[in-house]
């Protein structure tokens, strides 16, 4: 059963996964060329001053990529399920509703994290090429809130798509949008680091909202 569910999700996601992997890679390459050009066209002291002293992050081009990636993965997985309420096919399978949803979320989140790992890794390697190791390491806590925003956009989109009542949909949309906005509200390296682990600890709550919307869809979604 599990392998069948994973197969279904992979079939839906594979084209989007390949496209987003390519797009994210292209953005990382652009960042690399931008840094390289800056290094060649400006004095090293000036670049150092901008990047280290005034916290001009050289990889902001990637800031919203995890958000968009999470949103697209969620839509790619669940829009086909909502069209004609096809989710009822999966809900009739001889397995528990939550187990089925876990398989869906696992696939989506795994591929999402694969894209994010590639982004983080490439940014790290680029920074390591031109800057001291400390700058390269600082990219991890700087990118982390953007990745968490992507996780929230993924869970939020799935929850909103599964939800059957418009007032609840709008409410959930507002809640998840606000949470995502908070994660983009700061600037500078690792500005969110003090709260990061609390946020990671609270992330499972976002998953619970998916299961609740899934329950509501199964029990009332055929209207």
């Amino acid at each position: 059963m599990l392998s069948s569910l994973l197969l279904k999700e992979w079939l839906k996601l594979r084209i989007f996964f390949a496209a987003l992997l390519l797009l994210n890679f292209a953005v990382c390459v652009k960042i690399f060329f931008d840094i390289r050009q800056q290094m060649h066209s400006e004095h090293a002291e000036m670049v150092w001053y901008q990047v280290i002293h005034i916290h001009t992050i050289p990889y902001t081009a990637i800031m919203y990529m995890p958000l968009a990636t999470g949103l697209i993965f969620a839509a790619a997985q669940f829009v086909p399920e909502m069209l004609g309420r096809r989710m009822r096919i999966s809900l009739h399978l001889p397995t528990g509703r939550n187990r089925m949803l876990v398989a869906c979320l696992f696939t989506g989140l795994l591929l999402y994290l694969a894209v994010c790992c590639m982004d983080s890794g490439l940014v790290f390697l680029m920074l390591r090429t031109y800057f001291p190791m400390e700058v390269a390491w600082s990219s991890i806590p700087t990118i982390a809130p953007w990745i968490i925003a992507g996780l929230l956009s993924y869970c939020g989109t799935v929850t909103v798509l599964l939800e059957i009542a418009w007032p609840r949909r709008i409410f959930l949309l507002l809640v998840f949008s606000t949470l995502c906005l908070v994660l983009f509200s700061g600037t500078g390296y690792g500005w969110f680091t003090p709260a990061l682990w609390y946020l990671v600890g609270l992330f499972p709550l976002a998953l619970l909202s998916v299961f609740e919307s899934g329950r509501r869809f199964q029990q009332q979604g055929a209207k």
Binding site: K8, I89, L93, P94, Q218, Q219, K223
Partner: protein, 292 residues
């Protein structure tokens, strides 16, 4: 043993009462057809039976379990065809088989491919690029290969031409012939059900009439006569339904020809050439439920 039991079912949607105190049973091994005009709640009933809707009152048991909390082991025994032949359109035929094979322990790939190969399509053919009839064949293959004990078909004939409908009937007939298999079916093509079902449930304005096919066909009658006037029987207690085309009038009734003749006389309706006609199930359906 009853495979489906509905007790005092009530359901409302947007303030409108769909059912009130609906009760019926479907015994094991029977082929039961649910008939009703559009908007009478046939699909709603299927959705309630499959746990996709929570009724406002009453209880539904499917294979002995509350329909609202069907455990996976029970769902494993139910083949469900959704209205519109719902299928995953992003999958190919081969991927569809692979997907469902992993879901059902009793999956019979030979049954699936036997039905699907009749279309002469490659296993790489995408379900989303198929016609309605071809897609219905894939869905039929899926539910048959599950080897279920109970088949629930929600308007299987929707969008199908005569060939595909006949194919469905052939397959369902063979399935029922295995013994111990139960079919609960709704369809808009009433004449198809005449060749399939042994029990019928007529649903109209939240009320039902459950009857055996042969009982209904032998106790409900179609009569015709000629009359130059325009007639209107309203809500008559003897005549369940009536139709008029020119001076040719058809009436439907559970009463005998003599009783109908006496009744027409008592109503002051002039009639010529009153005679009983051969009645199809579709005639009976119109006579009992009306056209609108």
């Amino acid at each position: 043993m009853n495979v489906i039991e509905v007790h005092n079912l009530c359901h409302k949607y947007n303030g409108r009462t769909i059912y009130e105190d609906l009760s019926f049973t479907v015994p094991e091994g029977s082929i039961c057809g649910l008939l009703g005009k559009n908007g009478q709640g046939k699909t709603t009933l299927v959705n309630i039976l499959m746990g996709f809707l929570k009724p406002t009152g009453g209880k539904c048991l499917v294979l002995g379990e509350d329909s609202h909390e069907l455990p996976p082991a029970v769902r494993n025994r139910i083949g469900l065809l959704h209205e519109g032949h719902l299928a995953y359109e992003f999958m190919t035929i081969g991927q569809t088989e692979r997907f469902f094979r992993g879901c059902y322990p009793d999956w019979k790939p030979a049954i699936f491919y036997d039905l699907v190969n009749k279309m002469g399509l490659s296993s790489q053919h995408k379900v989303g690029n198929m016609s309605c009839g071809q897609r219905s064949q894939v869905v039929l293959g899926v539910i048959m290969a599950q080897n279920p004990d109970l088949l629930i078909l929600d308007d299987y004939s929707m969008g199908l031409d005569a060939g595909y409908r006949r194919l469905f009937l052939d397959v369902l007939h063979d399935f029922a012939g295995q013994g111990g298999k139960t079919i609960f079916v709704t369809s808009h093509i009433v004449q198809d059900l005449e060749k399939l079902v042994d029990t019928m449930i007529f649903i109209d304005q939240g009320k039902i009439l459950q009857t055996g096919l042969s009982d209904f066909m032998s106790s409900f009658h179609k009569f015709s006569f000629r009359n130059g006037d325009v007639v209107n029987f309203g809500n008559d207690t003897v005549l369940s339904g009536w139709e008029q085309r020119g001076d040719h009038i058809t009436v439907y009734s559970f009463a005998s020809q003599t009783e109908v003749a006496d009744h027409l006389g008592s109503l002051g309706v002039k009639f010529k050439d009153l005679q009983q006609k051969t009645m199809s199930l579709e005639d009976g359906f119109i006579g009992l439920m009306g056209k609108y």
